[in-house]
Amino acid sequence: MVATLGWKTGGPGGAGRLLAVENLEVVYDEVVLVLRGVSLTVPEGKIVALLGGNGAGKTTLLRALTGLLDIHDGDITKGSISLNGKRVDNLDAPRLVRQGISQVPEGRRIFAELTVEENLRAGAHSAPTGIADRFDRVYSLFPVLAQRRKGTAGFLSGGEQQMLAIGRALMSDPRYLLLDEPSLGLAPQLVQQIRELIVEINKGGTAVLLVEQNAHMALSISEHGYVMENGRVVMDKPSAELQQDDDVKEFYLGLHKEGELQSFRHVKHYRRRKRWLS
């Protein structure tokens, strides 16, 4: 079931502007091998979904993309990351943000003691010019943040905090936005709202790498999808195909082979998760 890694087009323009990870290997503490040769591309202006269970290496991949491996004692031991053909895997986090790669970390990680506006201002740290325009853009995307501008961020609801985290990342005016499980811990209605916002952000020209456990949501808006397991990319297909794939249906969409929604009656049968590779 290993798909080929054949998808390297640069979108309609064909200019080949993309964020590309090639054969990346990451080791923590010099012993724990977490990524075992991951390849993935995010073309400019597209939405790409990255699925996978806990411990598959999704977050590690994002850390590698945003220069956060250092503080977790992780190292890239093989492979490369390039942005429009230029190697960027040796850059530190502040430089990567200035290159236009911005991450919304898992669990939101907003600055709870600061006000909403201060959170956004901190997000614009790497790009202090033209800050007013970006405030306008974020406030028009998230009107609720504009209302609570002076409020302490820690008192926002979960959904509002997620919006603040996304807004904060947008303040650096990224060309690539990496979202780590934006739907985590949110009610279905809010997930729907976040989904629409991601589409909206993407329409503005920002490419999105959407890391999700909520495969339904991720595949419904993305153009292409990757499935990771055990530190490897095990599937690499257009999202529409992934949605039709039996294995993805079974393990990520919770659908039975016949297409009906999985129920608890069948759970026993699925207790042992099938692995594509080990």
């Binding site: 956060l68 200035r98 911005s102 003691e113 600061l114 901190a122 740290h125 790497s126 990342a169 650096s172």
Partner: protein
Amino acid sequence: MTRLLQSLAAGVGQGSIYALLALAFVIIYKSMRVVNFAVPGMMILGAYMVVYFGNVLGINFWIALLLAILVGAVVAFLIERLAIRPMIGKPVFAIAIITLGIDVLLRVVTSDLIGTNIRNIRDPWGLKTFNLGDVVIQHRRVAMVVAAALVCGLLFLFFRYSRIGLAMRATAFDQEAALTLGISVGTVFALSWVIAGGLSALAGMFVATGSGIDQQSAFVALKALPAVILGGIDSIPGAVVGALTVGIFEGLSNTYQIQYLPFLGQNFAQVVPYVILFIVLLVRPYGLFGTPEIERV
């Protein structure tokens, strides 16, 4: 009544010195969770630098003070870069011990430079006093309060409105999240040490006003530690309130203890900060303004 007001005035003045030193502790602790025991050494070095530039080289007092603050900041910057930065991620205890070692180093070197005599600085205040009603107040006490208030005001504006000040607050709250926004955490660390170094030098100058400095003067800075813990080690307003509390109680006990509690002996005021600390920690282990440590078991 006069006596009370007079001892309060002296206490607030002394408390202002502690406030400057306490801010040096807290700013570093907030940005990198390091308890910096080198503050006494940094302070006495600053005090000596005022002596050196002002008396030995004979430069104008104010310029000498500026130069001393500059030296303090540069030394603090070097300490952070050379000794502390490589230890990031290592146990907090190990880093604290390193700062203790640096403190010893700074104090030994400065003691040698100071020599065995008391060294005076040519400050404009000396031991001059003025009368406010019946209360006699030293000029230098007023200068200390004004300086501390000015520093607090400037720091408030800096943290509230400046870009790098906001970055420092963000980093203090969540280092990794700050990194994802492109905030250079290294710059934040360096800047916090630079500010602390400058503040320590300023405090050192005030310690040297009046009666000058000798080889033992560095120990004054140790009283900033109870002030910091009293206020909560991660709170800037707490540091100021704690420092003033310690200063005031010290001043009061200087005046009244020998009269009302003579059995505690001479110089009990020296111990007062630690007694207050002990009592406050019994009631609020995280200090008056500190963040309670929430732990799930």
